[in-house]
């Protein structure tokens, strides 16, 4: 045997020679291994070739592999071959049948999971990207989410709806005690987010407060990425307690509980699909599905045309976990169920806006979103950009009014665009608080569909414009009130002959703005100290001036409806236009106490305008 192979220290032998050093039993065993190995490989190949299995619902790495395989199919760089390998591997019947057993053994025995997951204590599973994120992304996420929701709040305000926001903390934060010791999910993100939303005057219900005292298993499901029934009920109780006007008790509704296997969708990330026999062995626990005892209650709630006063719009947390039913029981009134699963941040709001097109919006729109969606927004996720754009595109019939062209110094434009070209408003032209008080009405006249993106310092908003002439009204969302540039980008090229018209508009009633007296307050400083109560939630202060000042600083001081002191500040360096709009949303239904304007601007004017309404 020695001369069949080279051994360390031995010479390189020929290919033939004595083969007698292997005992006959071992020789037989080795031969059996050879045959069995061949059978395993060839058998798998034959089964997978002639009896492939459809790929189920791919998640995690598998989903990314499939997306990559679809995206790139070039022979030269190997992507075609890699895509072929992916398909072959994922369609393998042998793999789909056997791998779950091995995954289950690894999970149960060694606590080993694929890299998409983190195995916590007592069998708890967490999605890795919802535990670990970059500090810079989290910081951006807080500001982007705040800006986006402020703009959404403004838009819904035009339709007469109040937005009540319910960010659902990540599982890793809500159930941090079940994470492996030493992992920090950075819970300050959730705290900062709630603080940011409240500072912007957006009514926010903090689930962390509602869940105080609840053990982890009552907050989230052990092997799922969603919440547990008790957590949902506690949040519903908190909403009813904080906003008692939502509770009318006009309907006697109650829920029926049916025992089900505990949802464990995260196991599919561990290559254990729910239809595989080993799934039951891994999970063990049970949960309950909820349905109305009253027949027909669901159907009545689902109809958008039945004049709902309250709607819950949200993610799979709402859609798949009876959140609307629980709220309806708690409020004693119908609650329109606007949950949409597998949608990114604002995706469900876009879906809601489409369903309610031409129908009066409910007075209260409760918006649930899991906070990891905010992190996706901060990371610049493409699908979030599209869903945000879709929402504003779907609500483009909101009332708006053009900002006078002379104040903007001819910034309104109509232009023919070439392929991939951009249309930019330079720094200092569009001056606002960057929360949607200033918007662009964009009219595209083209023979074919076109894809667009509005970019500034806030999250980019993407939408698709249909063929023919189509108008959309897209808000300008920026991270700070400094008048940064805004660019409209044609993503794919709209072809020859297409025309784009862009008009700067606002959702506040400029024509009925009430001018406030201004007093000199030293060199290049003016103050309006008149106390004004605000009549509506989304008004704006409109500041106008003459000439070309080097810089302008505006500070509005006031109190919100709860009596909290608030300051709204803006600083514009080298302003090009002669008007700035500062949203008063942070003050809600409170009051403006003073407005201070600084800058070499001749005789400025300041006025307060209330929000336009579609109602």
């Amino acid at each position: 045997m020695d001369n069949l192979i080279q051994t360390p220290g031995g010479g390189l032998g020929g290919g033939s020679g004595s083969e007698g050093s292997m005992r006959s039993f071992t020789r037989t065993l080795a031969t059996i291994v050879l045959v069995l190995s061949g059978l395993v490989l060839v058998g798998t190949a034959v089964v997978d070739c002639f009896f492939p299995k459809e790929i189920g619902r791919p998640v995690g790495q598998e989903a990314r592999d499939i997306a990559e395989a679809k995206r790139n199919r070039r022979l030269r760089d190997g992507s075609l071959a890699k895509g072929f390998e992916t398909r072959l591997r994922l369609r393998s019947r042998v793999r789909q049948s056997l791998a779950p057993y091995w995954s289950a053994v690894l999970l149960k025995t060694f606590n080993v999971v694929p890299s998409d997951l983190i195995a916590g204590k007592e069998g708890w599973l967490f999605l890795r990207d919802r535990v670990i994120s970059l500090k810079s992304t989290r910081r951006k996420a807080v500001v982007f989410t705040g800006g986006s929701l402020a703009a959404i709040h403004r838009r819904l305000g035009i339709f007469g709806s109040e937005l009540i926001i319910m960010p659902v903390p990540r599982k890793s934060v809500a159930c941090a005690s079940m994470l492996p010791d030493g992992l920090n999910p950075h819970p300050e993100f959730e705290r900062d987010l709630v603080q940011e939303l409240r500072a912007r005057g957006l009514f926010t219900i903090d689930a962390e407060e509602a869940w105080e005292g609840l053990p982890p298993h009552d907050r989230y499901l052990r092997m799922d990425s969603h919440w547990a029934n008790q957590g949902i009920k506690s949040l519903a109780d908190a909403v009813a307690e904080i906003r008692p006007e939502l509770v009318t008790g006009e309907l006697e509704l109650s829920l029926r509980e049916r025992a089900i296997r505990e949802p464990a969708r995260l196991l599919s990330f561990a290559a254990i699909p729910s239809d595989h026999p080993v799934y039951r062995w891994v999970i063990g626990g049970e949960s309950h599905s909820l349905s109305f005892k009253q027949k027909g209650a669901d159907n009545a709630m689902k109809d958008p045309s039945s004049n709902h006063d309250v709607a819950i719009v949200g993610s799979s947390f709402t859609k798949n976990f009876s959140f609307a039913r629980i709220l309806a029981v708690r409020f004693g009134r119908p609650v329109y169920p606007g949950g949409l699963q597998a949608t990114p941040f604002a995706g469900s709001l876009a879906g809601f806006a489409t369903k309610f097109s031409g129908i009066p919006y409910p007075e209260y729109i409760l918006y649930e979103f899991p906070t990891h969606q905010g992190i996706q927004l901060g990371a610049g996720n493409g699908s979030v950009r599209r869903s945000l754009g879709s929402f504003f595109s779907a609500t483009s019939d909101a009332a708006i009014i053009p900002v006078p062209v002379e104040l903007l110094r001819a910034a309104n434009v109509a232009k023919k665009l070439g392929r991939g070209s951009k249309l930019a408003f330079a720094s200092g032209v569009l001056l606002s608080t960057g929360d949607g008080v200033l918007q662009l009405r964009i009219r595209v006249a083209a023979d074919a569909k076109s894809k667009w993106e509005l970019r500034s310092t806030g999250p980019a908003l993407a939408w698709t414009s249909g063929s023919g002439v189509e108008d959309v009204v897209i808000p300008i969302i920026q991270t700070e009130a400094t008048g940064q540039p805004v660019r409209l980008v044609d993503l794919e090229g709209i072809g020859e002959g297409a025309v784009v018209e862009v008009e700067v508009v606002t959702d506040v009633d400029l024509s009925n703005a009430v001018e406030l007296p201004l007093d000199d307050a030293g060199p290049n400083a003016y103050v309006s100290a008149a106390h004004r109560d605000l009549s509506g939630p989304n008004g704006a202060a409109v500041v106008q001036w003459e000439g070309r000042p080097q810089a302008i600083r505006i500070v509005i001081a006031g109190v919100d409806a709860e009596g909290n002191t608030k300051r709204i500040e803006a600083a514009f360096a080298k302003p090009q236009s002669q008007v700035a709009l500062l949203s008063l949303t942070p003050l809600g239904l409170g009051s403006v106490d003073s407005i201070r304007i600084e800058g070499d601007m001749g005789s400025p004017k300041v006025s307060l305008a209330s929000q336009l309404s579609n109602r």
Binding site: T7, P8, R27, L41, G78, K82
Partner: protein
């Protein structure tokens, strides 16, 4: 194509072996060559052209040397041509990016504009096959090998897929006879399969598990002292099991088609000196560097100073062969430093005064430090990790142990056992015991299951 990929194991390998054994014997070398081109071109078809260029040039050079020698000439011009073409390919594809980046950083420090440059993609395995073809022309020139009589055999030698992309570096003269005539027996195939299985288990079950802590540690911005040691130790075991696993798979596949490839690893971590380590680690490379670089430079024949210079130069270039980065140069210099120091000590080993286990321990620690240089992304990272290993830490941890699992703990026990207590795969395979055969087969099945579940992690030496 990866040796552990689905398409290789369940598609390419069965089809190739089927074609190899079913087609006429005379076609077998062509079958190997054709299959190897598919194997190599699977991800980048255009890179097959490079291999063809290398094959044609070196085959012609070998023939040319033979012709020149017939005319009483030395054939030196063909060796020069072969060196220029092989080293030229290597220089362009492997070192051009590094050269331009280094030049640009010098230009930037002088306030000059940088040179614009489109990065060159490194063809997998180019370091291995260019060395193989180079060794062929040099051996023919030296008279150590006859010029290849058949283009088919030479093409088969250059392209042979089992060891094509990550070694061992097979010299033409060692397989010359086998290219013409080789035996195929059931027993040889059985042993080949066992070695292949053992290599696969090393890679999938051990190397890839060690990779978790190694990647997390070397990728972290800050580590605790214990984490730094665990990361360095993990990489030390990962690279051994990864590379020796690949070598085993290559040797096993070679046996399946009748070839004997040289042993590439001989329990390197039991070494009691760095000199011994280099006699046991990547043996085909160290012997190549010895025979084609160190000895031609003069070896130890031109006085002690030249010997040290030659040693240093050989190890520096050996380091650079692994990759175009200063960390590899530093790693080569580090190895050269210890080799010189051991030689300067006048004994076979610098650590000779210590008991055997202590010699092994000190050598192992020195090897670990070497791997830190080898694995670090930059010299700065390497220095930071060294600092942390010696207690200079800001106290922040990478959370390396937060997700530590039982499988990693088991691997940390089994890995060292395999390294220090087990014989090499080839030694086991030379006189196999029933328990070893059975264990290897079970581990193969487990590896297949593991592969079904997990992503494929490429072999580390693919990047070299």
């Amino acid at each position: 194509m990866l040796l552990t990929s689905y398409v290789f194991l369940y598609g390419f390998l069965p089809l190739f072996l089927g074609a190899y054994y079913l087609l006429p014997k005379a076609w077998r070398s062509w079958v190997i060559a054709a299959a190897s081109y598919i194997f190599y071109g699977w991800w980048r078809p255009d890179f097959v052209l490079l291999m063809w260029v290398s094959t044609v040039v070196d085959y012609s050079c070998g023939k040319g040397i033979g012709r020149d020698r017939g005319r009483g000439d030395s054939g030196r011009r063909f060796v020069v041509l072969s060196c220029i073409s092989n080293l030229g390919l290597l220089a362009y594809f492997k070192y051009a990016n590094f050269g331009i980046e280094s030049l640009n950083s010098i230009l930037a420090s002088m306030g000059q504009d940088s040179i614009s440059w489109t990065a060159v993609v490194l063809p997998v395995g180019i370091s291995f096959y260019t060395f193989q073809t180079l060794s062929y022309t040099i051996d023919v020139f030296r008279g150590d090998a006859e010029p290849a009589s058949s283009f088919r055999d030479f093409a088969c030698y250059v392209s042979m897929f089992p060891q094509l992309v990550a070694g061992p570096i097979v010299r033409y003269r060692s397989v010359e006879g086998q290219l013409r005539e080789r035996t195929h027996t059931l027993q040889k195939s059985a042993i080949g399969v066992l070695i292949f299985h053992a290599g696969m288990a090393k890679k999938i079950l051990l190397a890839d598990t060690f990779a978790v802590a190694a990647d997390a540690g070397f990728g972290a911005s800050s580590l605790s002292t214990v984490e730094a040691w665990v990361a360095a130790l993990s990489y030390t075991f990962q690279i051994y099991f990864d590379f020796s696993g690949y070598s085993d798979m290559a040797i096993g596949l070679g046996l399946l088609i009748g070839f004997q490839f040289p042993v590439n690893f001989n329990r390197p971590y039991i070494s009691r000196s760095i000199s011994e380590f280099w006699r046991r680690w990547h043996i085909s490379l160290s012997s190549f560097l010895r025979d084609y670089l160190y000895v031609p430079l003069g070896g130890n024949r031109k006085g002690s100073v030249r010997t040290y210079v030659n040693l240093a130069l050989t190890m520096l270039l050996g380091g650079l062969w692994h990759g175009a980065a200063w960390t590899f140069v530093a790693w080569g210099a580090y190895q050269g430093f210890w080799l010189i120091l051991e030689r300067l000590s006048g004994k076979r080993t610098l650590l000779g005064v210590l008991p055997g286990f202590a010699q092994n321990l000190v050598t192992f620690v020195l090897v670990i430090f070497g791997w830190v240089l080898f694995r670090a992304e930059s010299m700065g990272d390497a220095m930071r990790i060294f600092g942390t290993m010696f207690g200079v830490s800001d106290g922040a941890t990478a959370g390396l142990f937060a997700e530590w699992n039982l499988l990693q703990s088991i691997t940390f026990v089994v890995g060292p056992l395999v390294v220090w207590k087990f014989r090499t795969t080839q030694e086991h395979a030379a006189s196999p015991r029933a328990w070893w055969v059975a264990t290897v087969f079970v581990l193969f099945l487990v590896s297949l299951l593991h592969l079904h579940r997990a992503d494929n992690i490429p072999f580390l030496y693919f990047q070299f």
